[in-house]
Amino acid sequence: MSSDEGSSSKSAPSSELVAVRRAELAPTEAAYLAAATRVIDTVLGVTLVVSRPLVGLAHRVVPLTAPVVRIIARPPLVPESLQPASVLARVRGVGAAARNGATANMDRTVRAQATPLALAALDRIDVTDVVLEGVDLHAIVDAALDSMDLTETVLSRVDLDRIVTAALDGLDLTALVNERVDLAALADQVIDDVDLPEIIRESSTGIASDAIRGARMGAIAGDDLVAKWVDRIMLRRRARRTDAPGESESPLEKPLAGVDE
């Protein structure tokens, strides 16, 4: 899922998911839920309709009546403990204590019931499906990977020696090399690089062989020199065509030594 797809699926799917969840409820439960929703909406609407004018009126009246209210709340010549404000304060304290008790009680209740409720809710929800549809996992994974040095994490947390040892123990390295590596080509390249034939020749040929080799190369050099000067005298611009018919009989074409792989 791409990030665009993820973002678009976050808003749209939420309402769709609600509709789906409702559709999954039993018919009776759905009817109760709908009725309760209507009642709540009605009460809330009536409250707003009635309270808005009263609040507006209060905003106008309270500033005008504030001095009077202060005198009534704290009448002179009346003991402070008997003043209406003090009485109201005590009453407010009783209310606050009751509210705190209720809050604590509710907190305990919520704490006690949260886990069963969450489990019950999760039992009715396919969390995997919800996450897959509503969460951009790619963005999350990308952000997580961007924020950490994976190489350093692996180096510090993973026992690489153990993994490599286990991998090597499970492999037949010889068979693998035989199957995957062109040993013949490798051997040819090594022989070519070190010029093994030259080493063999130098270690096994005598003075006579060296003399013959020198004579041959000297004659070839003489051939080239004569051809060069004659061609120059004859104003011949093209190089001589010295390639002969047939295959070269150099052992390169007909291998000498056989080695079984």
């Binding site: 034939p197 020749r201 080799r213 004569v226 093209r238 001589r240 002969a244 792989e261």
Partner: protein, 194 residues
């Protein structure tokens, strides 16, 4: 797993690029000179052998025989033709060619057959100067090479040749096969002994 033939070329690296190419005049002259030396020694040896033989026949009235130059030339010519024919038809090279690392092939690149080897040997023995046409030839070919469509090529793998010499030679058109315009390669020359 398939059998692999490890390729080890016994030819020195600096000489590899010449293998299969036609040899030039210096190489062929040196090879031919060695062959001429062999034939000369054989001819003189024949003469001394003849002298000894005559001495053994009649030691008392023995007189040192005197051969005219023409006799030496005829004997030398016969030796030369025989030597070249056998060498080219069997090993593809004479002793001189062996030392210089060259070999005679036909227009297909194969060893000469007996008729072809004989014709070339006779041509080289009678007209040895034909070798020097390769100096001006643009393809290092002597007159014998041009006429008989042969080539003298560098081939240092001598031991390899010795084995193949036991095999029947490749079919080769009865030698001088004038006509067919051969490919850009026919060429020739042999260490001609000559």
């Amino acid at each position: 797993m398939s059998e692999h033939r490890l390729q080890v070329d016994p030819i020195p690296r600096e000489a590899r690029r010449y293998q299969g190419n036609r040899a030039g005049v210096i190489t062929r002259t040196v090879a031919g000179g060695i062959d001429y030396g062999i034939v000369t020694i054989a001819t003189i040896g024949t003469y001394f052998g003849f002298c000894i033989f005559m001495f053994l026949l009649n030691p008392r009235s023995y007189e040192w025989p005197s051969w005219p130059v023409a006799t030496f030339l005829v004997v030398g010519l016969l030796y030369m033709v025989t030597y070249l024919t056998i060498s080219w038809a069997t090993l593809g090279r004479t002793f001189g060619a062996q030392l210089l690392g060259v070999r005679v092939v036909n227009f297909r690149g194969n060893r000469l057959r007996w008729p072809g080897a004989f014709l070339r040997a006779g041509f080289c023995a009678v007209f040895p100067v034909g070798l020097y046409w390769c100096i001006v030839s643009g393809a290092n070919r002597s007159i014998q090479d041009v006429v008989l469509r042969t080539s003298v090529i560098h081939d240092w793998a001598s031991h390899h040749r010795a084995v193949s010499s036991l095999e029947p030679p490749d079919p080769e058109p009865a030698n001088p096969e004038p006509a067919s315009p051969e490919p850009a390669s026919p060429e020739p020359a042999s260490p001609e002994s000559s």
